[in-house]
Point group: D3
Chain length 167, copies 6
């Protein structure tokens, strides 16, 4: 069975990795990178391509294989599930804990809670806050992701953006 | 004279009904369903089609007739009035209490305050808050609308969405 | 049962009227005005609002009632049916002879051929050609539609546009 | 009086220059660069910025002053005139020979034929054809524009694009 | 050298003028009017055309010359710099204090801090707040801009919009 | 070195396969599925997801590995290369024979002709024509792709769409 897991991965963290590890053992896994057109904001610092690379390296390190697909927003909830179905290879199930994703996919696909795959809580928002305020964040993301974020000077970017100012 | 009343109707409530009742007695009424492309959020739980149905049934019950037209946003205020004029049958007046609507239509059409048609205050936001928090809301909307919201399990939807969570 | 008939109605013609007459006798009919955002071109001379008015008057003359709904294009075929479903009140069937419409709605709704409702062939393209070249076209459209097109000086508009020229 | 002249200027040619010369003598002239988002196609080889530069240099050479404003398409004719009005400084008249422009602006502004300012016919399409097929084109455009097109290797670009091929 | 300064100019204020005055002495200056499609909101009360006129008059008064270019948003940060480059005439440097602008242009153009040109702080947000609450604001904007805002009844507009209300 | 190959793959054919086979031997290959939002037309019969599946199965059969990424159009050539770069993992080279792709990527990336990888000519247009007219097409596409097209009843779809008719 092929299953889709959608996240924004801003950034990829250990919570995501746990779910991916478990789910890829059981399913032919598609990892959908949501809000693919967003980047360079405090909420969405990394491009879809950068998030793809973080995932690629982290999965590669552990020998996990998955289909990784950037999914741009359509800003029209009623058609969002059809949009996702249209750009992903055929899948039968959706893994999610996001109420909107669950609500929109329930009429169309089998939907499973990601809690089946991981119980610990990790928060992208908390990790971004730590990045901005200079606190420790590396222990919350896969080693390969941390290294890649350093490679692209990601911390400098998010801190810089956080100084936000009226254009 | 044909007059246009625009609202989001999230959901249709008794305040809307009072205005519609009075205005349809005086004018050939167009009811424009604003933000037609929005749904499945806390601020905009229902699709344009669902809002159309609520209005249709509630008007039908009272024998009121009106033209109901879904109006998607254009996110470009300077062209919004032209957009509305383009997709509605010809009309001469606009009924509104929304400052933006009044500001944008004033150079083009006769604009009248909805207070001419109803004084009591009803709030869509307050009704949605009650739906989410499990308080009484049915006495604030037309009976037919409440029944339809139940039919489509609308309360479950809005409560579910309210649990919102980072994707 | 509620059924949806989608057309562009550029302009409304007697072929459309025959289908509408038959279909409205059998179903609670939704008339979807396709490509609602298009106007002022040779292929799409009239705004959605003008097409709405043509339909309204022609139906009114014959005492036919239907829900008329402008449907803007989304230019993304995979999500088009979800888009239409989202802005129309709930319906169970689609009436169409357009292969794309049939293809996109078949997985979601009962689809019926419009030939069940009318056999004669009328062509919007031929009517527009006649309008442009000054040939007779009035016998091909409902009397009320012809009158409205005259009212808005529609023939002058389409002939003028046909002189097209590089901007 | 301030007047707006809209063209695509693909490329700026001597016909445009004649109109600009005459019109700028009489009006405070706005030159709107239409289809501003288009470039790198056979019909629209140059970016809005490149077209801006061609106009700027050619006007500068002759000491003509005008406001030059890139105008992206909106692909929604009914709102196009409002869109143009919104991004240009206030103007009272429109100069055009394009039927669509005239049709859309007539209800809102004084519209004047560009034939008042120039009788000779020049064609952007013919100039692009000559560029592609290696025929003489330089005598049809202002000297400064020809020089700028050479500077950016424009002929190589349009010839290259003309080899078009399925992606 | 040609340099680009981007702002929203909601409204043009004395801080902008100081930078423009200094920068135009040193560079062939392009003034980009950001968020060109936005207007009639509390954060963006004026259209791009109105902002163009404010700038035009204020520069004219002081004999400053610059290229003024409305720049609509693309809501896709990764392509925003390419978008700006595409619609502006060629430029070599960007003047900005906005972290996002600096971040996005740094890989492509020389970026200079606007602090090189002005140290005093002026805030568009503070000026809009004063306009709404009826406090003094005229001493914070160029005289010509204040006069133009009065001409178009701008204060009435922003105060009216501030009464905002659910549609 | 990582290299990007962009095609529409409507459908994947043996010409594509030859290039992919050769290129993947030399590079870490990204296969970009262009016009990802298009489907259900004669020129673009298959969804991005269906094209993904064709590629996935055909590569799997031969043990070729590549990153497959759906790339929606942006309809703004000047920003297209930035868009592609934003949603793909970092790459250093582009493989293409399409003049527009080459023109747009040349300032940003090393561009190589696909003729380096394959000389034989295959045409998606010719294959679609054969599908529509009932001629032999299976020998022109990978066996796995032909099988998948049959699985989803693709020939029936494209033939049906070819009957096109005014909406």
């Amino acid at each position: 069975m092929r299953a889709l897991l959608i996240g924004r991965f801003q950034p990829l963290h250990l919570g995501h990795m746990e779910i991916i590890r478990e789910a890829s053992a059981e399913y032919d896994l598609i990892i959908g990178i949501g809000s693919a057109q967003k980047s360079h904001t405090i909420e969405n610092p990394f491009t879809a391509g950068e998030r793809y690379e973080m995932i690629l390296r982290s999965l590669g390190k552990e020998g996990i294989s998955a289909h990784i697909i950037p999914i741009p927003d359509v800003d029209y909830n009623s058609v969002w599930a059809s949009h996702v179905i249209s750009i992903c290879p055929p899948f039968q199930a959706v893994l999610s804990n996001n109420p909107l994703t669950i609500e929109l996919f329930s009429p169309l696909k089998k939907v499973m809670s990601t809690e089946l795959f991981s119980r610990k809580e990790y928060s992208g928002r908390e990790i971004r806050r730590r990045m901005i305020e200079g606190e420790e964040w590396r222990h919350l993301v896969p080693e390969e992701a941390a290294r890649y974020i350093d490679e692209i000077d990601g911390i400098k970017r998010i801190r810089y953006l956080a100084k936000g100012d009226e254009l």
